[in-house]
Symmetry: C2
Subunit: 208 residues, 2 copies
DNA sequence: CACCTTATTGACGAGCCGTTCAATACGGAG
DNA sequence: CTCCGTATTGAACGGCTCGTCAATAAGGTG
């Protein structure tokens, strides 16, 4: 006996929310339609009705995941008088801290990343998203290079932006498996020392 | 009708080699005993006979993976007269280049990394291995800090070593999904500029 | 009220998968 | 040669999964 009806979009959201919970805790490969159905409180058949197949359910979940992930808001909270190095560092710190605060999101994102190695559609989607992400760092990197024309010989803005993104990804990977031992401040201090001796104590206001 | 017998260790190696191939190409979650058996040319039952369960087969494969992975050989090929910065950079470059040259190994390692999020035994094994890896960078990082006592205020050797490892991991993650577009030299140049203006053109000998 | 589109259910089949197990062949010890 | 432990096979079992489908309820429309 069927239950109460719900609008198309509302049901999809409900199912995707359940899928997010299941996939985030159990892992993407172990996420089954029956578990998602149980978590959402609906029948398994209904999930196939709204998303046609398990694969498309997971692709829809990837879209939801990327759409609801706030990446690098342009307004990094830092004084306008700060040096370019300080601004880039503030962005790095903000991103690293944000990542460690949403473990479910990190795990799920990397689950999709691994799936993208084999699945072309997932891979292209992720490549596009993280290309955007790297582009968001480009102006910050460019400002740093222009402020120090003599230092950084041969370094391109794309290179510095890519390096920043890789560092963030590496920290995310690290924090995934060892969240306790991962010390944001220690990493940030080391990065500060690398980027510039001038930007060392500009924004030591966040607690550990 | 059973086939020819083989010594215990030899059979295990044969099966593990097949498992490595299957897991490296199809992914860890999709690696089934039947596929490994087919790849090894033996019956499924034989795999359970030598490794008692699928789980233990995969744990044995993890051991094999870590045992046969050459990490950061102590003798980094660099002139003894080089600065500490150059030595650390040479180690970074060597590791990043090594990673991009063995895609199967990277994929498999990160597959286990994701599995380690849920499986405690896998997680502890990986934590131990990458702690060793970070320790291998510590003396290099310490030398850099001692050579520049005024720069890097408040930066610890552990922090700089951890940052180096995170950067390597980030590059590995990046190269996994976009191996073509990943430019080792661009990243390396950017890292050189960050670490020291002095070590900029010390080892630009590798082709792109 | 009558009707028709749509949402929802739960049972079902086909297909894998991991593991168990009886049967069987091999190879060395006596 | 005989015998016995061990390696090896392949079939069989139980369980889980995805996707299909007929049956059924819900809700808007006339």
């Amino acid at each position: 006996m069927p239950g109460s009806k719900a609008p198309e979009e509302e049901r999809r959201q409900q199912i995707l929310a359940a899928a997010f919970q299941v996939a985030g805790t159990q892992g993407l490969a172990e996420t089954t339609i029956l578990q998602v159905a149980a978590a959402a409180g609906v029948s398994p058949g209904l999930i196939i009705f709204h998303f046609k197949s398990r694969r498309q359910l997971l692709l829809a979940l990837l879209e939801e995941l990327l759409a609801t992930t706030t990446v690098l808001r342009a307004e990094v909270p830092v004084e306008a008088s700060a040096t370019p190095e300080t601004k880039l560092l503030a962005a790095l710190r903000q991103e690293i801290q944000r990542l460690t605060g949403e473990p479910l999101r990190i795990r799920l994102t990397f689950d999709y990343w691994m799936a993208g190695v084999r699945d072309a559609e997932t891979r292209e989607r992720l490549k596009a998203e993280f290309s955007r992400y790297r582009q968001a760092f480009r102006p910050l990197a460019e400002a740093v290079l222009q402020a120090n024309p003599d230092r950084f010989p041969g370094v391109t803005a794309d290179g510095l932006a890519g390096l920043s993104v890789s560092l963030i990804k590496g920290c995310a990977v690290q924090s995934m498996i060892d969240p306790e031992h991962f010390d944001v401040n220690e990493y940030f201090t080391a990065a500060s020392g690398l980027l510039a001796g001038a930007a060392r104590d500009g924004s030591t206001n966040a607690a550990s």
